[in-house]
């Protein structure tokens, strides 16, 4: 019968969870230690938690978890270079987990969802200028939080560089359309072909007069162009922002993406858009913009995993999207670094020792004495003398 898990020794790889046929174990993924993939991700996607959920086939929760930091998984599956895969612990054993494929799989489910309007929870409107990666991301999180959001876009369609950029920057236009349409269903308003010309003297006052109490400036690269009026810029000409909150020199204006950075990948832009949205939420509630945003990372220590079973990495099908069964299996390859296993359902252990045999950390102890079963030769069952 399962006896104990030495919590200190447990490396959270989940070998026990993945081995037990009686489903005795579960993983606790919440930890102050950051998994290496998350530390390397510009958006801080928590793939430890996501994969742990997928290992339990909790697909919707896995997608919800990803959406907390990545508004557009279907785009990220395409346009992100996935620096998260490089430090993956699995790399030391066989090859890194195909996080891109898993993200693309979740993304495919994500764009197929039909979303209902989000109940409006706030009076004051927020303006988002530019419907590129940063602007769409900010709009997503603000709309989700119940703010009335209007997105002003100079072009005829959403996507920014992901639609109109160089060929290698572009994403699938159908996916862009799907996300724009989801945003619209949630309640965000798009004003296409509507350049706001933020270099004009009174652009901020005009927005304020229209009822907008905060602005996300996400117009792309502004270097070498007319600088946005009233905002401090860096030497290179980008808008100067606070690195944590994306707040500009004007309290209610936030800049994200290429507008505020000399280099910006789409995922960096989405991450910045999210930060701007959170900070706006903070100031509109009367708090400091950086409330709850200063999260420190504590790396997980590297442990010996050489005794774990090697498993082949699954590559995606069309456009790198993993089919369901491969996505679930690829998630099983994740070592959920920094988690802790626990005995969740001890009542069904059959004393097969599989968990103890497979545990690379020697953390599990199974007592060879088994569950007490009805004994046929006892007086009660044999009748009469024993």
């Amino acid at each position: 019968m399962i006896s104990s898990i030495n919590e200190e020794a447990c490396i959270g790889c989940g070998a026990c969870v993945k081995t037990c046929a009686l489903d005795v174990f579960r993983l606790d993924t919440h930890s102050d230690k950051t998994a290496p993939c998350m530390a390397a991700c510009p958006a801080r996607n928590d793939f430890r938690e996501i994969n742990a959920l997928l290992q339990q086939s909790r697909l919707d929760e896995a997608l919800d978890c990803l959406k907390r930091t990545m508004p557009f998984p279907a785009l990220a599956g395409e346009v992100c270079s996935h620096p998260c895969e490089k430090p993956c612990s699995r790399h030391r054993l066989d090859s890194s987990v195909n996080i891109r494929g898993i993200e693309a799989f979740l993304g495919k489910r994500d764009v197929a969802r039909s979303l209902r309007p989000v109940p409006r929870r706030h009076v004051f409107k927020v303006a988002v200028i530019g419907a590129g990666a940063a602007g769409l991301s900010a709009a997503w999180y603000l709309t989700e939080a119940g703010y009335p959001v209007t997105i002003f876009e100079a072009e005829a369609q959403a996507g920014g560089r992901m639609r109109y950029g160089a060929p290698e920057e572009r994403a699938d236009p159908a996916v862009l359309d799907a996300y724009a349409s989801q945003l619209q269903s949630m309640g965000a308003q798009f004003r296409y072909s509507c350049p706001l010309q933020p270099w004009r003297e009174h652009w901020l006052e005009e927005l304020e007069d229209l009822g907008f109490r905060a602005v996300v400036l996400a117009v792309g690269d502004v270097r070498g162009k007319k600088p946005p009026h009233g905002l401090a810029c860096t030497a290179s000409g980008s808008v100067r922002v606070h690195p944590l909150t994306c707040q500009t020199s004007v309290r209610t204006v936030f800049a994200a993406g290429h507008a505020a950075s000399d280099t910006s990948s789409p995922v960096q832009a989405m991450a910045a858009g999210r930060k701007a949205a959170l900070a706006i939420g903070n100031i509109l509630q009367g708090a400091n913009p950086d409330m709850g945003m200063n999260v420190r990372l504590h790396a997980v220590e590297q442990k010996d995993i050489s005794s774990l079973e090697k498993l082949e990495r699954r590559e995606g099908g069309e456009k790198g999207v993993l089919p369901l069964e491969d996505a679930l299996e690829e998630a099983v390859r994740c070592l959920t670094c920094g988690s802790k296993a626990r005995i969740a359902y001890p009542d069904d252990c059959m004393t097969c020792f599989a968990c103890e045999v497979r545990c690379p950390a020697g953390a599990i102890d199974v007592d060879p004495f088994k569950e007490f079963h009805p004994r046929h030769l006892d007086r009660r069952f044999i009748g009469g003398a024993k």
Partner: protein, 573 residues
């Protein structure tokens, strides 16, 4: 909330050895095969935990001698045509295993190590090497052999019903057992390769409380041989795999007077070198006579064989080491053993190719029924390979030549809702139903020296549980929903066992009735079959087609035993 829907040519329920063999063969005929298993993907069922020993008819052995002996061993109750196929195909599958990279033991002269079974002259198993890793290595070999085959494998899916379109199967429904997420599977043909279920005994077969009985009956298939169960001897406190090898090498059961009671009282010819069913009957009589407890004695195993029987790897090695640390030495101490009903030996009645009378529904491996309560070590490993291979071929051909039937999603949703509606509900814990069922099975007059009185009493208790506890079961989370379906399956299996045991009013092979201790020589040999009729189990006696069988039963293994009638009658109340 997008429901997960799979479409496949061949759906295989159960990813154990039979399922893996079948998938390998079926995939040569169709584009897509899908295996679903309620355990983790690729844990490969009980085969992966077995010793990997395999009944194999080698080239120098004669199939007719073997068949004659098997019919003798089963006291005439042998599906001879299926057994012939199994024996004939055992060597090709044995060689397939070798080609996949699996290793069977050889002695110093390079010959395969064969261990004769149950005191028989011919039938023997061939052992895997190294001891303790046979099943693990077979699993790895089978999985390697699937590389490049169009076989998808999914774990953690509990199938709760097979869907039909008229008399034809159209797929199955179930749920992910860690999330409760619904799963719909449309298929051209469905193969059941789960076990038929058991009583979660303490011998590594906990997981066998599968819902296969319910699945098959609801789908319209016939069940056969449910009066036969695998009664197994186990150490009272822990598990030990390898009895089928230990006994032929000199292991024996002794009573509190140090007597090898089997040899002294019940079978001077065979002693302890027999099937567990007979050893258990001896144990029961000894304990009833006040000569318990029964211990397992290994002191007569020759020193040169000790290496072969000492676990060298895997869980068996770990188990042995841990026991030693606790001061228990399996080979030196007097270890008390006890009998347990482990699993049903009944199965789904099929044709030789695994097909059933429900169009598109097949069964293989232990979901079929081959042994009748008496069992040679290594038979399951053999039968799962041969029947998996053969049925895989048949179902693949069948699916290659038909269209996908209409999958009625609404009907499927209704079938599934019956289960999912219990999710989140507080109620009687599945474990309690399992406990009640185990206790209901435990009395000696229910599972070993059966009598109408004992069986009726158990049946009455079962009906009470069915009516009082079953509807009040709850599943607080998906894990317990899965256990709930298992517990219900265990109750159904127990009902099938009790009713079939009452129906067979004689003693034969693994079935012993204290109130009918002799063979029924007046009526022709029959199978007891069960089918569903208006929600109830209907039992039918079906005569064996002896005309088409090569061996007409003429000698009986049970005749090598004498269990004194006055002692046996003590179990009739």
């Amino acid at each position: 909330m997008q429901a997960i829907t799979f479409k496949t040519d061949v759906l295989i329920i159960g990813g154990g050895f039979a399922g893996l063999w079948a998938a390998r063969q079926a995939s040569t005929h169709v584009k897509d095969v899908l295996i679903v298993d309620k355990g983790p993907r690729d844990w490969a069922g009980l085969g992966g935990m077995s010793g990997g020993d395999m009944i194999t008819l080698h080239e120098d052995q004669d199939i007719h001698e073997w068949l004659d002996e098997v019919v003798f061993f089963n006291d005439g109750l042998c599906d001879q045509l299926m057994m012939l196929d199994t024996l004939r195909d055992s060597l090709p599958r044995f060689h397939d295993y070798e080609a996949m990279g699996h290793t069977f033991s050889r002695d110093s002269r390079g010959r395969y190590v064969r261990i004769p079974q149950r005191g028989l002259a011919h039938v023997s198993l061939t052992t895997s090497s190294p001891t303790g890793k046979g099943g693990i290595n077979m699993r790895a070999a089978l999985l390697r052999s699937l590389e490049g085959c169009s076989v998808r494998r999914m774990g953690n899916i509990m199938i709760t019903a097979i869907t039909r379109n008229g008399n034809r199967v159209s797929g199955a429904v179930g749920f992910f057992n860690r999330s409760g997420e619904p799963v719909f599977i449309s298929a051209k043909a469905v193969l059941i390769t789960t076990g038929t279920g058991g009583w979660k005994a303490s011998y590594l077969q906990n997981s066998m409380a599968s819902g296969c009985v319910e699945l098959a009956l609801e789908a319209g298939a016939r069940l056969r041989n449910f009066e036969f169960i695998d009664n197994w001897n186990v150490p009272k406190l822990f598990a030990w795999e390898g009895q089928t090898v230990l006994l032929p090498l000199g292991g024996r059961f002794i009573n509190n007077r140090n007597e090898e009671f089997m040899a002294e009282r019940y079978s001077p010819v065979l002693g302890s070198k027999t099937d567990t069913q007979y050893n258990i009957r001896g144990m029961v009589l000894e304990v009833k006579a006040g000569r318990g407890p029964i211990v397992f004695d290994t002191s007569r195993i020759p020193a040169e064989c000790m290496e072969e029987v000492t676990p060298a790897a895997g869980w068996m090695k770990l188990n042995n080491e841990k026991l030693k640390k606790l001061g228990v030495d399996f080979f030196k101490d007097k270890i008390e053993w006890m009998p347990q009903p482990i699993a049903s030996e009944g199965g789904i009645a099929t044709e030789l190719d695994g097909s059933t009378e429900v169009e598109g529904l097949f069964a293989a491996g232990t979901a079929q029924s081959l042994p009748t309560g008496v069992y040679f070590g290594g038979l399951s490993i053999c039968h799962c390979a041969t029947s998996g291979h053969k049925t895989g071929d048949a179902i693949g051909r069948y699916a290659a030549n038909c269209e996908t039937p209409f999958f009625d999603k609404e009907q499927a949703q209704m079938l599934l809702q019956r289960e999912l509606c219990r999710l989140g509900r507080t109620g009687i814990a599945p474990k309690d139903i399992v406990r009640v069922t185990q206790e209901l099975m435990a009395p000696v007059d229910v599972c070993i020296m059966k009598s109408a009185g004992g069986l009726q009493r158990a049946l009455q208790r079962l009906e009470e549980v069915k009516h009082e506890a079953l509807p009040r079961m709850g599943a607080e989370d998906p894990h317990y929903l899965c256990k709930m379906v298992e517990a219900r399956g265990m109750l159904m299996l127990t009902e099938a066992y009790l009713r079939a045991s009452l129906e067979r009013t004689e003693s034969r092979a693994g079935h012993f009735r204290a109130d009918y201790p002799q063979r029924d020589e007046t009526s022709p040999l029959y199978w007891v079959e069960i089918r569903r009729n208006h929600g109830e189990m209907e039992l039918v006696r079906v005569p064996l087609p002896l005309d088409s069988y090569p061996v007409k039963p003429y000698r009986y293994y049970m005749d090598q035993f004498t269990f004194p009638i006055e002692e046996v009658r003590k179990f009739l109340h």
